[in-house]
C-alpha cells in the first residue's frame, strides 16, 4: 500500500517536469505582457499574439511527454476543437460578438468541469494517487464554478441571440433557492475533501450548480448583460484556477492564468457596475431590465408635445454645422446601422463638420460593444470619447444625435431621486444646442422609465429604424 503521493508523478523524470515548469513560467509572463499590451490600441494586436504564443508554448511543453496510445486521441481532439473554434471566430458577424464571447466562455467552463470529472475517475481508480483534502475541495469548487459558468453563459448566449426572452425573470424565493443551491454545493465540496469515495457527490454539485447558473442569469435583464458577461468571464478564469489545484502536482500555469482572468473579469464587472451606479448585488438580484431599444412595446404619448423631424429637414439642419456628437446604443447594434453611420460620418467630415462619438460604458450588451462596431466600419478610435471626455464637449456641440440609446442619456438620472436610474452617470446630450433622438418609438428604456429627454424643448425625434434612418439621412445630405 503506497502511502506517498509523490510530488512528481513517477512516470515523468525530474528534468522534464523542471523544463515544463519553466515553460509554464514563461507562458505566464507572456500572458501578463500580452494583457499589458492590450491596454493600448496601438500595441493591442501584438499583445493578443503574445498571449497566443504563451498558450502555444504551454501546450507544447505539456505535450512533450505522452504515450503513443493517447497521442491519437490528443491530436484528433485538438484538431476538432481548433477547427470549430476557427470557423466560429472567422464567420461571426461583428454584431453577434456578445453571443460568441458568451459561447466561448461557456465552453471554457465546461472544459474545466470535464477535466475534473476525468481526473476524479482516474485518481479514484489509481490507489497510488490518493485525493487529498485540498484536491477534493477544489474538485468540488471547480465543478461548482465551471457549471455555473457553462449554463450561465449558455443562457446569456440564448438571451443575446434572441432565443430566450431578454426580460428578467424573477419569482418568489429565487434568492433563497440560489443561496440554498450554492450552500449545498459548497458544503458538498468540503465533504469531498473529507471523503472522496462517494462519486455521486460531484454529480450532485454539477446538477445543482448547473441549475444555479440558469437561475442567476435568467434573472438578468438585457441592458444589464454587460455586467453579467464580464462576471461570467471572470468565473471561467476562476474555474481554470481551481482546476489547477486538483492536478498533482498543482499546475502553476492554470493557477496563474486563471487568477489573472478571474481578477480581470472582476475589475471589468466593477467598472460596469460603477457605470450604472449600482452594486453587483443589485444587478444580480435587483432585476430591473426589460429588453430595451427593440421597440416592442410602442406606447405613444399623444398628450405630450413631441416634435419630430424627417430626413430632409435634418439634412438641412446639419448643413454648415461645426460639431456633432453621435451617441450610439444597443439600437444601432440591433439594426446593424454601423455601416450607415460610417457613411454619415464621412459625408459630415467632408463638409467640414467635426464628428465625435460619445460612448457610455454600458451601452450595448457587453463591455466595449459600441467601440467594436464602430471600429468594424473604420471609425478612427480617437473619435470615440468616453463619459468623462465627452460630457464637456456637449456644451459646444450644435447637434447631439442619440442613435438607439435611451437610459444612458436620460437626464432624470441627474435630478429625479425617485427614478430607478437616479445617480447613474449619463451622457449629458441635453446640454447640446439641439438633440436629435433617432428611435423607433417612444418606448421606455430598460428600467421602464420614460425619458424626459424626448419631450425636452431642444429635442427633435427622428422616428424610424436606426439603419434606415441613417441611410435616408445620408441620401438627403448628398442630394441637397
Amino acid at each position: 500500500m503506497p502511502t506517498l503521493a509523490t510530488v512528481v508523478t513517477p512516470a515523468i523524470p525530474l528534468w522534464v517536469s523542471l523544463i515544463q515548469d519553466i515553460a509554464y513560467l514563461v507562458a505566464a509572463i507572456l500572458f501578463i505582457f500580452g494583457i499589458k499590451q492590450l491596454s493600448s490600441p496601438r500595441t493591442a494586436r501584438r499583445g493578443n499574439m503574445t498571449a497566443g504564443v504563451g498558450m502555444l508554448l504551454a501546450i507544447i511543453a505539456t505535450l512533450y511527454i505522452q504515450n503513443a496510445m493517447s497521442v491519437v486521441w490528443i491530436i484528433s481532439a485538438m484538431i476538432i476543437g481548433s477547427a470549430i473554434g476557427a470557423v466560429l471566430a472567422i464567420r461571426i458577424q461583428m454584431t453577434a460578438m456578445p453571443q460568441l464571447v458568451a459561447l466561448f466562455n461557456g465552453f471554457g467552463g465546461l472544459a474545466s468541469v470535464l477535466v475534473v470529472g476525468s481526473e476524479y475517475l482516474r485518481r479514484s481508480h489509481d490507489t497510488s494517487l490518493p485525493i487529498t483534502f485540498d484536491q477534493g475541495l477544489t474538485m468540488g469548487l471547480s465543478v461548482l464554478i465551471g457549471c455555473v459558468t457553462f449554463t450561465g453563459s449558455m443562457v446569456a448566449y440564448g438571451k443575446l441571440q434572441g432565443v430566450i426572452a431578454g426580460r428578467p425573470r424573477q419569482w418568489r424565493g429565487q434568492l433563497i433557492g440560489n443561496a440554498l443551491m450554492f450552500g449545498i454545493s459548497f458544503a458538498a465540496s468540503i465533504w469531498i475533501g473529507w471523503d472522496n469515495t462517494v462519486g455521486w457527490t460531484l454529480l450532485v454539485i454539477a446538477a445543482l450548480s448547473s441549475v444555479l447558473g440558469v437561475t442567476l442569469t435568467i434573472a438578468i435583464g438585457g441592458a444589464d448583460m454587460p455586467v453579467m458577461v464580464a462576471l461570467l468571464n471572470s468565473y471561467s478564469g476562476m474555474a481554470a484556477c481551481a482546476t489547477g489545484f486538483i492536478l498533482d502536482p498543482p499546475n502553476k500555469a492554470l493557477i496563474v492564468s486563471g487568477a489573472l482572468v478571474g481578477a480581470s473579469g472582476i475589475i471589468l464587472t466593477s467598472i460596469m457596475c460603477k457605470a450604472m451606479n449600482r452594486s453587483l448585488a443589485n444587478v444580480l438580484f435587483g432585476g430591473v431590465g426589460t429588453d430595451d431599444s427593440t421597440g416592442s412595446g410602442s406606447t405613444e404619448h399623444e398628450s405630450r408635445p413631441v416634435r419630430s423631424v424627417d430626413a430632409e429637414e435634418l439634412a438641412m439642419m446639419l448643413d454648415g454645422v461645426r460639431k456633432v456628437i453621435i451617441v450610439p446604443g444597443y439600437g444601432m447594434a440591433v439594426a446593424q446601422a454601423q455601416h450607415a453611420v460610417r457613411d454619415l460620418f464621412h459625408i459630415l467630415e467632408k463638409a467640414g463638420t467635426e464628428v465625435y462619438f460619445g460612448i457610455h460604458p454600458v451601452a450595448g450588451r457587453m463591455p466595449g460593444h459600441m467601440n467594436v462596431l464602430l471600429a468594424e466600419v473604420d471609425i478612427p478610435y480617437d473619435r470615440l470619447l468616453d463619459l468623462e471626455q465627452c460630457n464637456p464637449e456637449f456644451e459646444t456641440a450644435e447637434i447631439a444625435m442619440v442613435l438607439g440609446a435611451n437610459d444612458v442619456v436620460n437626464p432624470a438620472a441627474r435630478h429625479d431621486k425617485s427614478s430607478p436610474i437616479y445617480g447613474m452617470p449619463i451622457l449629458n446630450v441635453d446640454k447640446a444646442q439641439t438633440v436629435i433622438v433617432c428611435k423607433r418609438s417612444l418606448a421606455a428604456g430598460y428600467a421602464g422609465v420614460e425619458n424626459e429627454l424626448f419631450v425636452a424643448p431642444n429635442t427633435l425625434m427622428f422616428f424610424g429604424d436606426a439603419k434606415k434612418s441613417m441611410s435616408d439621412l445620408c441620401k438627403a445630405l448628398t442630394e441637397q
Partner: protein, 115 residues
C-alpha cells in the same frame, strides 16, 4: 472562525504527514494571491475602447484549462474508455475556447485603427 481555521490547518497538517503537501500548497496559494493582485493591477489601465477585445482575449487565456485536459489524458491508464471520452471532450471544448478566442480577438483588433 478560528475554530474553522484550526480544523482546516489540522487537515492540512494530516495531509502533510502523508505527502508533505502543506509547504507546496502554501507556495501555490502565494502564487495565486500574487497573480490575482497583479491581475487587478494591469486591468485597471485598459481603456474602455478595448474592453471587448480584453474580455475575449482573457477568455482565450482562460482556455489554459487545455493543459489540465492534456495532463489528464496523458497520465491515463490504458483501457478506461469513460475517462478517455471525458478527457477528449475537455480538449475539444478547451481548444474551441483557445483558438476561437485568440482568433476572434485578433479579428477585432485588426479593426482598431487611428486615422
Amino acid at each position: 472562525m478560528i475554530a474553522g481555521l484550526n480544523a482546516i490547518s489540522m487537515v492540512l497538517a494530516q495531509d502533510s504527514v502523508q505527502s508533505s503537501r502543506a509547504p507546496l500548497l502554501i507556495a501555490v496559494v502565494f502564487i495565486l494571491v500574487l497573480a490575482s493582485l497583479y491581475g487587478f493591477e494591469i486591468i485597471t489601465k485598459v481603456p474602455a475602447t478595448l474592453h471587448t477585445p480584453l474580455m475575449s482575449g482573457s477568455n482565450a487565456i482562460s482556455g489554459i484549462t487545455i493543459i489540465g485536459a492534456l495532463i489528464c489524458i496523458i497520465h491515463m491508464e490504458p483501457g478506461s474508455p469513460f475517462i478517455t471520452i471525458l478527457g477528449f471532450l475537455a480538449i475539444v471544448f478547451a481548444m474551441i475556447n483557445v483558438v476561437g478566442g485568440f482568433l476572434v480577438t485578433d479579428r477585432m483588433l485588426q479593426m482598431f485603427k487611428r486615422k
